[in-house]
């Protein structure tokens, strides 16, 4: 496991509906080299939230969309997408419309 002190820190935006599982924080700063590492750390730090964020140990819940700086990570490299200091990660539940 790389030393987190050398890793970039990104802010992770938590939508209202999901905040109760993270002590009502609207945004959390997390260190990691990739989107997967950041979310993995979030899961480790907030196990109750983590069990909902992830469907299996490696796959995200299908009702959750993750955006890195406004781009859906499925258009990038998914959980392997590298992050840099100051990046913004948003967790957004899928919603309907048209």
């Amino acid at each position: 496991m790389p030393d987190s002190s050398t890793q970039p820190t990104v802010s992770v935006e938590i939508p209202t509906a999901l905040r109760p599982q993270v002590s009502d924080q609207a945004s959390i700063d997390v260190a990691g080299a990739t989107v997967g590492e950041v979310l993995g750390k979030l899961r480790d730090d907030h196990p109750e939230f983590g069990t909902k964020l992830y469907k299996t140990k490696t796959d995200l819940n299908r009702f959750i969309n993750i955006y890195l700086n406004d781009e859906d990570i499925r258009f990038l490299e998914n959980l392997e997408t590298p992050v840099k200091a100051g990046d913004h990660l948003a967790i957004v539940p899928a919603i309907a419309g048209g």
Binding site: P15, N61, F63, D72, R74, F75, A94, I95, A96
Partner: protein, 430 residues
């Protein structure tokens, strides 16, 4: 009386009270209204429904409202057209068009979902309603909000058709154009719903809103003489309407109002935005989102929130899906207009074009009843038809000039109807 039981996490099964709610806390999945079907038996009957108003509210026992309807009193009950001329052209025995291009007041299927959502907004005491929209929903929300005396704030992509922009602006909502596609708008809207105490119909009123889409399916069944079409072809954008037509069919079967003829559902998408059809063809449970690029803007949703359930319901029903290119979509718009006198928008052209492909490929047999769901009106998307019709030179108001024009036209009739570049223009019957 209301037969509503609860809001239930669709995956988790966790029950919640009837309240504005976007997702299930247990798994972040959708929540759905549940009903007491046992209590309905013997009370919700063909006769009780037929005695109701000629609007979608004739199905109010199967809709999640607590009191009287507060919006959309004239919405729904749109024509189910037996399309014999088009059926003959396509070489099929029994073809129906469920025509929501004639819906009231805003000429799309969205008047169904908004009638229910605005009624709930009033019940919950909201003073502002809003939505993320590709146009039709914003048009409908703006109209219903005006009629109900509520403020409206609607969010749309920046590049919508002029007819849709004027169509919503005339009702006086705050229209916010977003420099992005629908999926960007949708994401922003979920954040807005977090921050503002508004009824965003497709976010925090989503479980109620989506139930309104069932009435499209209820009407098909009732208007067909209390039976289900064997094959129903439905456009897929965010993925609301197909699962709800399926739910409507299942509810009528559960209540004994129609026979279970094992109806099959088919999804129609534009080739420039077909994540669901791609997943169907690749046998995947999950779709990959796409960046839309199609003339069918009202269904240009690359990340359909309910796409998972669309895939599930299509497979469960034994149906399939198809996608159509822009030239095929435009050709299908003209085919429907020329054979049935119905002018639909590109989403409707997509649905018909896909139905034709499914018939031609043998997925839909020619000798079983088919229903094509038309969800929007072509007068709102006139730009889509740009360049397809030549504007003839004006003639003097004299009979001699008219005679000359007709004679010239007879000599060269092709000048009046440029051939569309599509594979759909050929009659398909043997």
């Amino acid at each position: 009386m209301s037969y509503v039981k609860s809001l239930r996490g669709k995956e988790s099964g966790v029950d919640y009270p009837i309240e504005p709610r976007t997702i299930c806390d247990a798994d972040f999945g959708p929540v759905e209204v549940t009903y007491d079907y046992d209590a309905m038996r013997g009370k919700v009957t063909r006769e009780s429904i037929e005695a109701g108003p000629r609007s979608l509210w004739r199905y109010r026992d199967l809709l999640p409202i607590a009191g009287e309807p507060r919006a959309g009193l004239h919405s729904g009950w749109t024509p189910l057209v037996r399309a014999d001329r088009l059926a003959k052209h396509l070489g099929v025995d029994e073809l129906y068009i469920k025509d929501d291009s004639a819906n009231y007041p805003s000429f799309s299927y969205k008047d169904r979902v908004v009638a229910v959502a605005v009624t709930k907004a009033v019940e919950f005491g909201f003073d502002t309603v809003g939505c993320a929209s590709t146009g039709n929903l914003a048009h409908s929300v703006s109209a219903h909000a005006a009629a109900a005396g509520l403020d409206a704030c609607v969010m749309v992509p920046h590049d919508l058709e002029a007819g849709k922009m004027v169509g919503m602006n005339v009702f006086g909502p705050r229209v916010v154009r977003i420099a992005g596609n629908y999926d960007d708008v949708n994401r922003l809207c979920s954040q807005i719903a977090d921050k503002y105490n508004w009824a965003i119909v497709n976010v925090n009123l989503r479980p109620f809103y989506t139930e309104g889409a069932k009435t499209h399916g209820f009407e098909i069944a009732e208007q067909l003489g209390w039976r289900l079409p064997k094959h129903t072809v439905v456009p897929v954008a965010g993925g609301t309407i197909l699962p709800k037509i399926w739910k409507a069919y299942r509810e009528f079967i559960t209540l004994g109002l129609v026979e279970d003829n094992r109806p099959a559902m088919y999804g129609a998408q534009a080739a420039g935005c077909d994540p669901i059809v791609t997943a169907l063809e690749e046998g995947e449970d999950l779709f990959r989102p796409q960046k839309p690029d199609t003339i069918a803007k009202s269904i240009a949703i690359g990340n359909p929130a309910d796409g998972y359930y669309v895939l599930q319901n299509i497979r469960e029903s034994g149906g399939h899906g198809a996608s159509a290119t822009d030239p095929d979509i435009l050709a299908a718009i003209e085919l429907l207009a020329e054979h049935e006198g119905i002018f639909t928008e590109p989403a409707g052209g997509t649905t018909l074009a896909c139905a034709i492909k499914l018939i031609q490929s043998g997925r839909i047999p020619r000798d079983e009843p088919i229903c094509v769901c038309i969800t929007g009106n072509g007068l709102k998307t006139l730009e889509a038809m740009d360049g397809r019709f030549t504007e003839n030179q004006a003639i003097p108001a004299k009979i001699a000039d008219f005679d000359r024009l007709i004679q010239a036209g007879n000599a060269d009739s092709s000048a009046l109807t440029p051939p569309p570049k599509s594979t759909l223009s050929e009659p398909t019957h043997a």
